[in-house]
Amino acid sequence: MRCDDIRQLLSAYLDDQLTDAERQSLEAHLTKCPDCQAELELLRQAMALVGDLDEVELPEGFSRQLHARLVAAQPQKVSSLAGWGQRIRRNLGRPNWRTLVAAAACFILLFSTNLVLNPSRAAYIWWGDQPVGIKTEGDPGRVMGLSGTPDSGELATKSSQTGLAPGAEGQGGGAAESEQAESEKIIKTATMQVRVASMAEAVQGVRRIVAEAGGRIERESIGSQADRRSGASYVLRIPAEKLDPTLDNLARLGEAVSRSVVAHDVTQQYIDIRARLETLCIQEQRLLEIMRKADKVEDLLRIESELWRIRFEIESATRQLLYWNDRVEMSTVHLELEEVDDALKIKGGGFLGELGRILMLNVKRLGRLLLEMVKFSVAALPYLLIVLVLWLVGWHFWRRRRSPAG
């Protein structure tokens, strides 16, 4: 055996913990190796020094003090309920500040994970919005220039008259043209987002403005959004010529975040369909005349079926024209209202004012965040219960391992 191996055995040799074989080879080595002998002697001496350490007497009053503490720790005769509490407390151990900090950290981690997973709730720290420009999409020239360029064609239209009499009972072409029919057919759709301080006031304002413009509200939905701010969304129909002033009025309800108008020119399609309608009407007249002259049942049936087909096409073309007319006359406005925190009501004050607003707002949001935390902890209770049970079980086993079960 090498000296290194021998030296690992010396300690056990001192305590007589070697197997016979180990002891024999060690003793054989020692007789040959003075180094290892010296090493063993050193170990012996060192341990002799350790063993020579004096036993220290108990400090004065040790037993007395211990007695007092034992008596204080003596379990009182307690009701079974309190006994249960005591047992739970003993089982839980006394949670020290480290456990508490760890628990709090876990809670915050869970909570923030949840915030990240629900992005709508994530925006709790707010340091002001980026300035938003108001943009106008589409072709502004067209949007603004509703100048009523006369329609070039001689083509007559039935437009609204056709609508009143869908059957088109032979009123023929060349009917009176309305002014509108001659102009360009441009459908304008506006989208606007407005931040308002008070939702209730804004809702009243929208209704008033729409009524003044002679428009109507097609859809109105007011309610809370996912991130708990209240908001409203509208689909408004506003007479085309009053669109821009109305948008201006709506913007004055609060702060317009975005505003866009898209103009869609359908003039060409409109003319095409109108021309087709014209042809279909003439065809219809002819078929009617032929039918009057026909006397064979077979012919009659064939004309009849052809007539049906043409009437169906007339109807669908008429509907399309009516739809376009409606869209052109009344522009559609998609309006989104969003209520913002009160702090935003206070405007101005320069940079300091803005800082103040930001601070106020975040204090409010912090309050909301705390409320969210309370709600979250209640929501997490079922999971916490599972964790608690696991912890108790884990603690039980851990303690089993650390201290003898008896």
Binding site: D15, Q17, A38, E39, D54, S403
Partner: protein, 208 residues
């Protein structure tokens, strides 16, 4: 466990302070000494010993009599000491500017009278101080194993039960503790110089 101890255990488990005190009479001094050698000063040792006894008293209902009461008690004491040392180290890493406090306290004030003259006592004190310092420089687990073996006279089996390790680990801990302590004492010139001289070339020259 004899019948008398069994009865005492049963009474102590019901919260009988007197029975518990009787049960631990034989261990008070040993436990205090174990704590003292672990932490190196009397005040802390006294606190730790009391804490350990209190813990044991509270945990009495959990004592099922599978191990001996002594082993069970020693296990609690060991854990209390190791926890304290761990916490102490954590505190030290936090307060870096606080000077590392080695045992500046003079040796045990109340030593048993060994019947030596004043000079011998003084020398003994110095030697003991150095040995205690050396023990203090060992790792916690090694120190515990060494103290249990050398100062408390526990067998390897008992140490294994107290520390919750297997015998192989105990063997290796004691071995390493002894080797390190020997080395420390050689460096502090407490051990026979002649052997040191012999030992040196061997240590420098490797295994041969």
């Amino acid at each position: 466990m004899n019948v008398g101890e069994e009865q005492l255990v049963a009474r102590a488990q019901r919260g009988d302070v007197a029975a518990f005190e009787e049960l631990i009479t034989a261990y008070q001094k040993k436990v205090f000494n174990l704590a003292y050698r672990m932490v190196g000063n009397q005040e802390d040792a006294s606190d730790l010993a009391q804490e350990a006894f209190l813990k044991a008293f509270r945990a009495m209902p959990d004592f099922k009599g599978q191990a001996s009461f002594s082993t069970w008690l020693y296990r609690i004491v060991s854990n209390v000491c190791l926890d304290e040392l761990r916490q102490r180290r954590r505190r030290q890493t936090i307060s870096l500017d606080e000077p590392l406090q080695l045992e500046d306290e003079p040796l045990p004030r109340q030593v048993a009278d060994s019947g030596d003259g004043p000079e011998e006592i003084l020398e003994r004190r110095e030697v003991q101080e150095i040995v205690q310092q050396g023990i203090g420089e060992l790792g916690d687990d090694h120190r515990l194993a060494l103290i249990l073996r050398e100062l408390q006279g526990k067998s390897y089996q008992e140490i294994a039960e107290i520390t919750g390790c297997n015998i192989g680990t105990v063997k290796s801990r004691i071995n390493r503790a002894r080797l390190s302590l020997k080395q420390l004492l050689v460096e502090r010139e407490l051990l026979n110089n002649c052997y040191v001289e012999i030992n040196k070339p061997a240590a420098e020259g490797g295994t041969r």
